[in-house]
């Protein structure tokens, strides 16, 4: 765990709020924390360089741009786990894939450029593995809790 001072913690919490689209968007933040803009920006760079932040910028939603995402799961027989992992991971539409503790033990996200792409990719994984691909597209998202409190 990285050592963060009080200021880093405050900054980290505030940086998870939506930044303004003003000419000098960091200025109100700097004033609030009692820093000048330059010091604030140096601190943010430091958090990025040390890996405390993975990124600072817009969060884009591919679905709102016309693409689609779908969470999927497979109940993989334990003796076929490595083979099925290879088949699933070979699909470029698979953005990430986790082994989890459940009868449904493989959970992956399909990300495609069009909504139709989800069904096509899931169907072909079913054909190649002979296993059911359960599909869990989001019905609704509850937005509020995205932040991590440092």
């Amino acid at each position: 765990m990285s050592r963060l001072d009080e200021l880093d913690r405050k900054l980290l919490n505030r940086l998870q709020d939506d930044l303004l689209t003003d000419h000098r968007p960091f200025l109100p933040l700097a004033e609030e924390l009692g820093l000048d803009e330059e010091t604030l920006l140096e601190r943010v760079k430091h958090l990025l360089e040390t890996g405390v932040l993975t990124r600072f910028g817009p969060f884009f939603d591919a679905a709102a741009m016309g693409g689609a995402f779908c969470l999927c799961a497979i109940a993989v027989p334990p003796d076929r786990f490595e083979e099925v992992t290879e088949i699933v991971n070979a699909h470029v539409e698979v953005a990430h894939n986790y082994e989890r503790t459940h009868q449904l033990n493989m959970w992956f996200v399909l990300a495609t450029q069009t909504p139709d792409g989800i069904g096509t990719a899931a169907d072909s994984i079913e054909r190649e593995t002979g296993l059911t691909v359960y599909r869990f597209p989001k019905t609704q998202e509850f937005f509020v809790g995205f932040r991590v409190v440092a």
Binding site: L41, G57, M65, A95, H96, R100, W107, Q140, F142, A150
Partner: protein, 161 residues
């Protein structure tokens, strides 16, 4: 939202992140041959249409000591899902919360809430806290810990240094 080629250029220019300079929008606008006002107008309309969720930091959970993550799942009465999902999603330790379809009989759960903590014990405590909030509207629940990352390429990740 219909993204025209200029919007797509903007997405491409900002995918890696916002420049950490006092006037970042002016700098990006300059690179794309736009005025700052035009860029900001386009960014604002992407925000209002949901193409941009927010402009903010993505923290690294592991670096913050959040080494345990569990996908908690719940079977909630359909008539209460909107209300209770909102309450669970607002908890400070829940990073994502979704309503998703059930797949009976193997999967009776319709609420998914991702919980992070510094240990499995802490995640269990948080899960118990959620169970308390859901009360009798919840018929069953489970937690799926991640055992192994099998693939992770799709999202905008920085190379590890």
């Amino acid at each position: 939202m219909r993204m025209d080629p200029v919007d797509q250029e903007i997405v491409r220019a900002l995918q890696a992140g916002l420049p950490l300079v006092p006037a970042p929008y002016a700098q990006i606008a300059g690179k794309l041959g736009l005025t700052e006002v035009e860029l900001v107008e386009r960014l604002n309309s992407m925000k209002s249409s949901g193409v941009i969720r927010r402009i903010a930091a993505a923290p690294n959970h592991y670096k913050l000591g959040m080494t345990s993550n569990g996908m908690t799942v719940w079977d909630i009465e359909d008539s209460r899902i909107a209300e209770l999902g909102g309450v669970v999603g607002a908890l400070p330790f829940v990073t994502h919360a979704y309503e998703r379809p059930r797949a009976l009989p193997i999967w009776p759960y319709n609420l998914f809430a991702m919980v992070h903590g510094s240990s499995d014990e802490e995640v269990e405590e948080k899960r118990a806290h959620i169970a308390g909030i859901l009360g009798s509207a919840c018929r069953a629940g489970d937690i799926l810990y991640s055992k192994r990352i099998l693939k992770k390429t799709g999202l905008r990740l920085r190379n590890k240094k």
